[in-house]
């Protein structure tokens, strides 16, 4: 089990290397010249040439990549061409914002997905089952940004329930922190909740028909114990894979959701950088998100071992 996780993590450096190189090439192919962008509105060709020289922009791609890599391996992710701020520091400053958003969304997925999945599985074919199926199919089709805008409109503009935009640090006020994150968290997690709920409903329905559930009933256990202890633990195994994919989806989706709710997170930082061809921040964000995804997958692997004793050996 730990061997499996270890083996997976051993691949992490190679994955990071490939992804960073891929992104590096992609940004280079983009029709945005950072030197031109830096030079301002009335660019002086001499200034552009000077900037190109200063930032080694004329070097061949592999040379530039290896240079970036060399610095990165020493923990230096370079500076932004525009703000001149070190990328490493900026990214670490913003990371808590995104982790907060992720945390809220993941809690929503777990609570909402499990609750709806269980409700849908209790009586197959009955009204609750159909409602979950129908609701899930709709929720899967709803674009998160549109849902976000609707929520802003109804819950912030028409009725002042939640703040429309911005972010408050947890250390400043936990309550405000949560209030600012509920809407973006919900917009992000709607699709994952539906996906997880539908998967879990199917898996749980099947599990409840297993022989060991009959054994549990014959032992005189209460339905609650049977569902939440005996069935859920087994039904969760196939859902874990889906859950892991949803977490990756949240990381991607948060880029747009940050825009909708004016949250100054990594997504906004990434978009600003991408528009200007500012390569270092882009790579910083990509490398960081990749690491988060790799760690999440490792967590999912460990969870597999926890749920399925056969994998523990």
């Amino acid at each position: 089990m730990l061997k499996l996780v270890g083996r997976r993590l051993a691949w992490a450096p190679l994955i990071l290397l490939m992804i960073s190189f891929f992104v590096f090439t992609l940004v280079d192919l983009a029709p945005v010249d950072p030197a031109v962008a830096m030079a301002g509105n009335n660019p002086d060709p001499a200034l552009i040439a000077q900037l190109r020289h200063d930032f080694h922009l004329s070097d061949p791609l592999p040379v530039r990549y290896v240079r970036w890599l060399g610095h990165a391996l020493h923990g230096d992710l370079g500076n932004s061409y525009f703000t001149r701020q070190p990328v490493g520091r900026s990214v670490l400053d913003m990371l808590p914002i995104n982790l907060s958003m992720m945390l809220v969304a993941v809690v929503m997925i777990l609570v909402g997905g499990v609750l709806l999945g269980v409700l849908g599985a209790l009586r197959p074919g009955k009204i609750l089952d159909r409602l979950v199926t129908a609701g899930g199919s709709v929720a899967v089709a709803v674009p998160p940004f549109w849902l976000g805008l609707l929520m802003v409109l109804y819950l912030s503009v028409f009725h002042q329930v939640f703040p429309a935009i911005g972010y408050v640090k947890f250390s400043t006020s936990p309550w405000e922190w949560l209030k600012h994150l509920l809407m973006p968290g919900f917009a992000l997690s709607t699709l994952p909740i539906a996906t997880v709920a539908l998967q879990l409903k199917g898996s749980l329905t099947e599990t409840l028909g297993r022989d060991y559930i009959l054994t549990a009933r014959a032992k005189g256990l209460a339905s609650k114990t049977i569902i939440f202890k005996h069935a859920l633990r087994n039904a969760a195994i196939p859902v874990l894979t889906v859950f892991g994919l949803q977490v990756a989806y949240i990381i991607g989706g948060s880029v747009i959701i940050e825009q909708v709710f004016g949250i100054p997170g990594l997504g906004s930082y990434l978009i600003t950088a991408a528009q200007a061809g500012d390569i270092n921040p882009i790579l910083g964000v990509v490398v960081l998100s990749t690491m988060v995804v790799i760690l999440m997958n490792a967590a999912v692997d460990i969870a597999y071992g926890f749920l399925n004793p056969k994998l523990r050996a």
Binding site: R210, D211, Y212, L214, T215, A218, K219, G220, L221, T225
Partner: protein, 335 residues
């Protein structure tokens, strides 16, 4: 053994129905039999005869599968279980009545250790401490002859063989010292040598604890081996009831006799005695005697019209056949 115990379980006219695409289907109809304290009662029948449904119905476990029981009583230790709700039944399930199923490996939860699953039952019903429940679990595993019980208790079902899983299931079913054990085809999924060992174990435990057993099987050999009295089921009904000796020496229902004849026997030559036709599905039972269209003794107008009740066919012997007194049926020849 002789039956002198008090009446423990009295199943009387039990009927179980399931909701199908074409309305309620009667899987079990008017099933009556009794189990006395310390007795082993065999319930024998082919697939679709309703024996499993009957065993689940006793504990109200058919409800979770969408079944209902419109008629009949299941009086256990003085209480009619049919009238109880799930909450009240849960105080009897696993505590006063233990259950063992056909597929031992699949009947244990793969996510928990064997010990956890047994201890859970004890703690649930008796509320004793974790360490006390664990100590008793290990003792129980020892009683069902699982070697190194303390170590094995910490293993998962997939680390157990089928026979070992069934021993663990038996330990679990007996963990709260019930007065009745329901065993539904407990050895059908096991190899023949393992079956012999598990049957020996069940007999040993029965003698030691005095627990009564409702033993369900399709295998006449196993029933002959285990039961004191037998109820034969066909197409959702009990068609014959008798002591095991009575039944095997002189069966009084043509179906019972046919079943016995169909068992391969040495010296009979290659041609086996078959019962023609197929076992009918619930919802498609023939009118009159449900066996009449496969029965070589059936007589028109007598066997195919009216519903036939269980008729007395001797001392403590009943048969659901109108021709019982006229027929001379052959049992298993006793050497």
């Amino acid at each position: 053994m002789t039956v002198d115990g008090a009446l423990l379980l009295d199943v009387d006219g039990l009927t179980v129905e399931f909701n199908g695409p074409n309305g309620w289907v009667r899987a079990v109809e008017d099933v009556s039999f009794q189990v006395h304290a310390g007795e082993i009662v065999g319930l024998v029948g082919e697939s679709g005869s309703g024996k499993t449904v009957t065993s689940l119905g006793v504990l109200g476990l058919t409800r979770a599968q969408g079944g209902r029981m419109p008629h009949g009583r299941v009086v256990f230790e003085g209480t009619d279980l049919v009238t109880l709700d799930d909450k009240a039944l849960n105080r009897i399930r696993g505590r006063r009545i233990g259950m063992v199923f056909q597929q031992p490996i699949r009947s244990l939860n793969p996510a928990f250790t064997i010990g956890e699953q047994i201890a859970e039952t004890i703690r649930h019903h008796e509320g004793i401490s974790r360490s006390d429940a664990w100590a008793r679990t290990v003792t129980l595993l020892d009683k069902v002859h699982i070697p190194e019980p303390a170590k094995r208790a910490r293993q998962f079902p997939h680390e157990f063989s089928g026979g070992m899983c069934q021993r663990a299931m038996i330990a679990m079913a007996l963990s709260c010292s019930p007065s009745l054990l329901i065993a539904d085809e407990p050895t059908t999924a096991l190899d023949v040598t393992v079956q012999a060992v598990v049957l020996d174990l069940m007999r040993e435990i029965q003698a030691e604890t005095g627990v009564a057993i409702l033993f369900i099987s399709h295998d006449l050999g196993v029933i002959a081996d285990m039961a004191d009295t037998v109820a034969v089921m066909y197409a959702g009904q009990v068609v014959e009831r008798a002591s095991v000796e009575e039944l095997f020496i002189s069966p009084r229902h043509p179906y019972t006799a046919g079943l016995m004849a169909a068992v391969p026997r040495v010296g009979q030559g290659r041609q086996l005695v078959a019962i023609e036709g197929n076992v009918p599905d619930p919802g498609n039972y023939p009118t009159g005697c449900r066996f009449h269209n496969r029965c070589e003794h059936a007589v028109a107008m007598r066997c195919d019209t009216d519903l036939i009740p269980l008729l007395p066919a001797g001392e403590a012997h009943d048969s659901r056949c109108v021709r019982t007194s006229e027929l001379m049926l052959e049992g298993v020849v006793v050497a």
